[in-house]
């Protein structure tokens, strides 16, 4: 960024620690927070733009560990360009693009392509996730080291969409990524127990005549993997935890000092299997929507730190793959543009968490898990670190809006919240000091 680039004074916003404070962005960095922000802004040279943040919350830019951008391969559902526009509109300054593209992101070439597309788009940082196994086939390790050493600097590896079910392969992956401080993010789904699975297994699946996806299929893999991680002394990240039993196992593992981190999706914090009664495929997702008790256990898990982060599992799908029979419809929901409102609704408005907690689960912790040093630079108490890259999201928690997927920036329309009223709206987003969202609308991308 050139020295003559505009400086931004975010004035009068409420910071995650509860204080009301000004914030100055200069040269892509968070130059000052507090009373000196304004004096320094007025003393400095060059153009100064003021963002009125009174009545709003100023958060560190959000970090998503679990995003499906669909490019390369399914550009009819999403592209890096449209997906990162959606990310920016949702307040994310960094997303992790899952590897299940076509071709699979299992080589340095593909991850560099995705990383490059992200830079060219310029709406938020794009960190490709590398596949654990070649072609997500679960048979042999992909070239994890080459992806780590590539320009994309991959640190998160996942076969998401598929479980690394082979215990030996999982053990080796956990061990191998220690060489570059990587982490394996497991999609925990025992494949034999979930063949043909269509929804949460329980009394309702029996009534609806849909094949069940039992909680044990998730819990058995998590139990195995935390023990493997302990055995080989590696880090493990568990994607989209969806059951109360999984929360218990992860709590148990953390009490024993096992290096496990876990993620929950926004939809698993709000929606339940009851929605499947409609047979509307917009509610079909993997892992499936669970019971009310599971929703509550996930919320408690986030509040007490058992679950570390909210990952969107933003999974755009074309209309034709959702406008069909439930049993053949694609699994997945969009989520980038509704994640923060859902978190506010499920965790903040319920009194389970304050905004420092939101900063923790949506920014600093996922940044730490992915070993990002340019994101999430805020203390546990919610104090911004000055001098850090200015990744900042300004959020108005006081508006209430009815979700209309037609207005979303993502290319796909499969939002399960269609027609629901949710609180809050992102108003301004700064990605490395560049305003990508201003006044509730996309502004301009950052250029490199």
């Amino acid at each position: 960024m050139s020295p003559t680039a505009p400086r931004y004074l975010i004035s009068g916003g409420t910071l995650p620690d509860g204080t009301t404070s000004d914030m100055l962005i200069e040269d892509g960095l968070l130059a000052a927070v507090g009373p000196e922000a304004r004096s320094r802004a007025e003393a400095g040279d060059g153009p100064l733009e003021t963002v009125d943040a009174s009545g709003r919350i100023v958060l560190p830019g959000l970090v998503d560990l679990h995003t499906h951008l669909r490019e390369p391969g399914r550009e009819d559902a999403e592209t890096v360009e449209t997906g990162t526009r959606a990310a920016a509109m949702g307040g994310f300054t960094s997303v992790h693009a899952m590897a299940n593209s076509t071709p699979v992101a299992d080589s340095a070439g593909v991850v560099e392509q995705v990383w490059q597309l992200g830079r060219e788009a310029g709406w938020c940082d794009v960190h490709p996730v590398g596949a654990v196994t070649v072609g997500l086939a679960g048979e042999r390790l992909a070239e994890l080291g080459a992806m780590a050493a590539s320009r994309a600097e991959v640190r998160v590896f996942s076969d998401d969409g598929m479980c690394v079910a082979d215990p030996v392969l999982m053990r080796r992956a956990l061990e191998y990524v220690k060489a570059f401080d990587g982490v394996v993010a497991q999609h925990a789904q025992e494949p034999r127990l979930t063949e043909g699975a269509q929804m949460n297994e329980g009394e309702l699946s029996s009534v609806l005549g849909l094949s069940g996806w039992p909680a044990v299929a998730e819990e058995a893999i998590i139990a195995r993997d935390v023990l493997l991680a302990q055995h080989v002394g590696s880090r493990l990240h568990v994607c989209h935890v969806s059951t109360a039993g999984s929360v218990e196992i992860i709590r148990w593992a953390k009490e024993r000092g096992i290096e496990v981190t876990a993620e929950a999706t926004p939809h698993h914090l709000l929606l339940t299997e009851e929605l499947v009664r409609s047979y509307d495929p917009v509610f079909k997702v993997n892992p499936p929507l669970r019971r009310e008790a599971d929703v509550m256990a996930l919320r408690e898990g986030l509040a007490d730190g058992t679950i570390d982060t909210v990952g969107t599992d933003h999974a755009p799908h074309t209309a034709e793959t959702k406008e069909c029979e439930w049993t053949v419809a694609a699994m997945g929901m969009t989520g980038l543009e509704t994640a923060l409102p859902v978190v506010q609704h499920a965790l903040v408005d319920t009194g389970l968490m304050d905004w420092a907690g939101v900063s923790r689960i949506l920014s600093s912790t996922p940044a730490r898990i992915a070993r990002l040093t340019d994101q999430g630079r805020i203390s546990a108490a919610g104090v911004f670190e000055t001098g850090a890259p200015a990744n900042v999201t300004v959020y108005d928690p006081n508006v209430r809006r009815t979700v209309d997927p037609a207005t979303h920036a993502t290319r796909s329309r499969n939002s399960p919240y269609r027609g629901m009223e949710l609180p809050g709206q992102v108003t301004d987003v700064f990605n490395h000091g560049h305003p990508v969202v201003r006044d509730r609308a996309l502004a301009t991308p950052r250029t490199h």
């Binding site: 005549g209 406008e323 069909c324 053949v328």
Partner: protein
């Protein structure tokens, strides 16, 4: 009644209305000229995306006896794999002039989805969707049981329910849409239902359903039921480890000659054997049980036509008023839609 999608959401009033209308239809079927003008000029499409010749011809006979035009559309496999979506298919059928779509589908929920999608305005009749429901099968079973009860009491079946009847449903409950539809409907009508199956073929959560559950068919029969409904068991279930072998299944859950004898001694004097067909003789039912005078299979088939006539008539007549329609005169006066 605009659609018939399931028996779980069928009220007692609607269930009785269908059964009472079916009694009227049945009287027509007994006449020399088996035809009513009730649905003249209306078009019924049988959209069968899964093989079922029996159900399709039953619906076809029902529609024709009501003078409706019938179009049969059959296909196999997923609509996705054929490249045409269900939405396009049904919109095409409606453009051709369908007033009601009778759909057999491999996917659970397909009928409910079709009715709720806004893709079409036609009535939808669920002729079996995946492992979810098969409401007309349950209605024809209920009609059969109700007539049976009326004969026992020497009364007319009209207006009566199944209070006090004990029905045992046996076999692959897990994969059976017939079992589900019967459980909801028979209990709505006041019957007591017992499900008997190996634990592997019981649905998860069955203990929350309004029925008794047993793993012992002998106990179920010894308790003296009025009817034993045998479900078809597919031998491929064996390969999915639901039970070890066909022989073991038959020994434990088949209606063998020994269990037929037990039914004759312990069951109601006029206890009946029901089967939705087609029967696997030697697997879930012995030849003697299949050929027994207690077996209502053929009566069920005849009642199937009456029930389907009633359903088609009710969904297409568009009347929301309670009670059984005064069928012949009103139909004759009814203007063309």
């Amino acid at each position: 009644m605009k659609h018939l999608l399931s028996t779980q959401d069928l009220s007692l009033g609607d269930a009785l209305r269908i059964l009472d209308t079916a009694e009227e239809m049945s009287a027509v079927s007994g006449r020399e000229v088996k035809k009513l003008p009730a649905l003249r000029g209306r078009t019924v499409v049988n959209l069968f995306l899964e093989d079922s010749t029996r159900t399709r011809i039953s619906f076809e006979a029902a529609a024709k006896r009501l003078s409706a035009d019938v179009i049969n559309f059959t296909g196999k496999g997923t609509s996705v794999s054929k490249g045409e979506s269900l939405k396009d298919t049904v919109q095409t059928l409606e453009a051709i002039g369908a007033d009601a779509i009778v759909m057999r589908h491999w996917g659970s929920g397909a009928a409910a989805q079709l009715a709720g999608s806004g893709w079409i305005t036609s009535s939808v009749v669920n002729a079996g969707d995946g492992t979810h429901e098969h409401p007309t099968q349950a209605l024809l079973d209920a009609l059969t049981l109700r007539r049976h009860l009326a004969r026992r009491h020497g009364t007319a079946p009209r207006g009566t329910d199944l209070s006090g009847m004990k029905v045992v449903i046996v076999g692959d409950i897990l994969h059976s849409r017939v079992a589900r539809s019967n459980l909801w409907l028979l209990t709505t009508l006041g019957a007591e239902v017992t499900l008997a199956a190996p634990p592997t073929l019981m649905p998860v959560g069955v203990e929350q359903w309004p029925c008794q559950v047993t793993y012992s068919l002998d106990e179920a029969i010894a308790s003296g039921p009025d009817a034993v409904m045998m479900l078809r068991v597919q031998s491929e279930r064996m390969h999915e480890a639901f039970f070890p072998s066909a022989a073991e299944y038959t020994r434990s859950w088949g209606l063998t000659d020994d269990r037929l004898a037990l039914l004759e001694s312990a069951g109601a004097d006029d206890a009946v054997i029901m089967h939705p067909g087609p029967m696997n003789r030697g697997l879930e039912i012995s030849a003697a049980a299949a050929d027994s005078v207690r077996n209502t299979a053929l009566e069920q088939v005849a009642n199937g036509v009456s029930v389907r006539m009633a359903v088609l008539y009710l969904v297409l007549s568009g009347t929301e008023t309670a009670g059984t329609p005064d069928l012949v005169p009103s139909a004759a006066r009814r203007p063309e839609a």
